[in-house]
């Protein structure tokens, strides 16, 4: 197996970041937001989930999202539906970093949902029995997995039949601004490039990955979240505090030189700063995926061409000439 990411480096980055509790909580805005958007997808499934796994739980951001009242949908009659946490009897949160996983265990949300925290040496080898979970959720974690196909197969195994895997990960174009400007800064200052931003999976690969792992009824979609930062230094500091800095194998062990940092700041601003904006934008591309483990009596997609209602009749629209 080709190792892309250095697991030890990634573990240390997460652990160190989480030990600075205050700083680490301050940069949770992205993880919290994505966890919320991910959990909203549970609303579409009219079902209760006795036992759910949060794979790569960070600091249990999904548990926090599930218990957040904002997530409730208010019906037209003005009645408020129960929080999503009510649909889940037990949430098992699994993570490699103890400091990160236990960071928020004293916060109030822990009382509103039953949480079990499991620390395992390596997220790529899951210690659970087959057919154990009614759903597996994962938010902003599996982009650091070296062998994603093998992990997805394990997820499929530990799910009960007809149970969903719902995940969000950073994808391809995430931080494309930083990737590009660091490359130019490296070229101009040092005459060559080295990888400062880790590679990510592309959205078009995710469907076939899920398919290969045996998932059915796939849904994959993409969303960009653009965050504004005062400068590139603030962006990089936040990434570090999130535990999300580069963890590629054979990366330069020395930190970026001051010259390259200065050059990068200038180039990033020239390329991406809007005239009327006070700060610089950084794009995070989220890939959301849902796949179902095969099960008896599961809804199946119909054969192609078996529809007997023309969508044109429902949606309207003009004539469409066959080629």
């Amino acid at each position: 197996m080709l190792e892309v990411f250095n697991r030890k480096t990634k573990h240390l980055q997460k652990d160190r970041a989480a030990r600075n509790v205050e700083e680490s909580r301050k940069v949770d805005y992205l993880k919290d937001e994505v966890a919320m958007r991910l959990c909203e997808r549970l609303l579409d499934i009219k079902r209760n989930f006795p036992h759910v796994l949060d794979l790569g739980a960070n600091s249990c951001n999904i548990a926090k999202a599930l218990t957040t009242p904002n997530l409730d949908i208010t019906t037209p009659e003005g009645t408020v539906s129960p929080p999503l946490a009510d649909k889940i009897s037990k949430l098992t949160c699994v993570e490699t970093s103890r400091a990160l996983l236990h960071r928020d265990e004293d916060l109030p949300f822990n009382k509103e949902i039953e949480i079990q925290r499991d620390i395992i040496p390596d997220l790529e080898t899951l210690p659970y029995e087959p057919n154990s979970f009614d759903a597996v959720l994962s938010s902003l974690s599996i982009h650091w997995i070296n062998d994603l196909p093998a992990l997805l197969e394990q997820v499929n195994t530990i799910l009960k039949p007809d149970a969903p895997f719902i995940a969000a990960m950073f994808g391809g174009d995430t931080l494309y601004e930083l990737r590009g400007s660091l490359q130019l800064a490296d070229m101009e200052r040092r005459g060559g490039v080295s990888p400062h931003v880790s590679p990510l999976a592309d959205v078009k690969d995710v469907g076939s990955l899920l398919n290969r792992a045996g998932f059915k009824m796939l849904t994959v979609d993409v969303e960009d979240i653009v965050v504004e930062f005062p400068d590139t230094f603030a962006l990089m500091q936040d990434l570090q505090a999130m535990g999300e800095s580069n963890a590629i194998m054979n990366r330069d062990s020395a930190p970026l030189s001051r010259d390259v940092l200065l050059a990068n700041e200038a180039i990033y601003r020239s390329l991406h700063k809007e005239d009327d904006a006070p700060g610089i934008p950084a794009t995070f591309r989220l890939i959301y995926m849902i796949g179902w483990k095969e099960g008896k009596n599961q809804a199946q997609p119909l054969q192609r061409g078996s529809g007997d209602v023309n969508l044109k009749d429902i949606l309207g629209g003009g004539e469409f000439d066959r080629p």
Partner: protein
Amino acid sequence: MPARTRPVEKIAKASAQCSAEVAAYGKCVVTDYNSVHKDMCAKEFMRLKNCYLAASKKG
């Protein structure tokens, strides 16, 4: 714990005082970004660095 200024914060603070030099260097690289090579904008970078060093001395 006393507030500790990290090296990167110092760089951020000093470079913010050199916005003209930052813009000039950035413009130089970006103008021809398909054929960037080593020291293509060495002159602009030296100006940026001199400004930066002066600004960081002032604290």
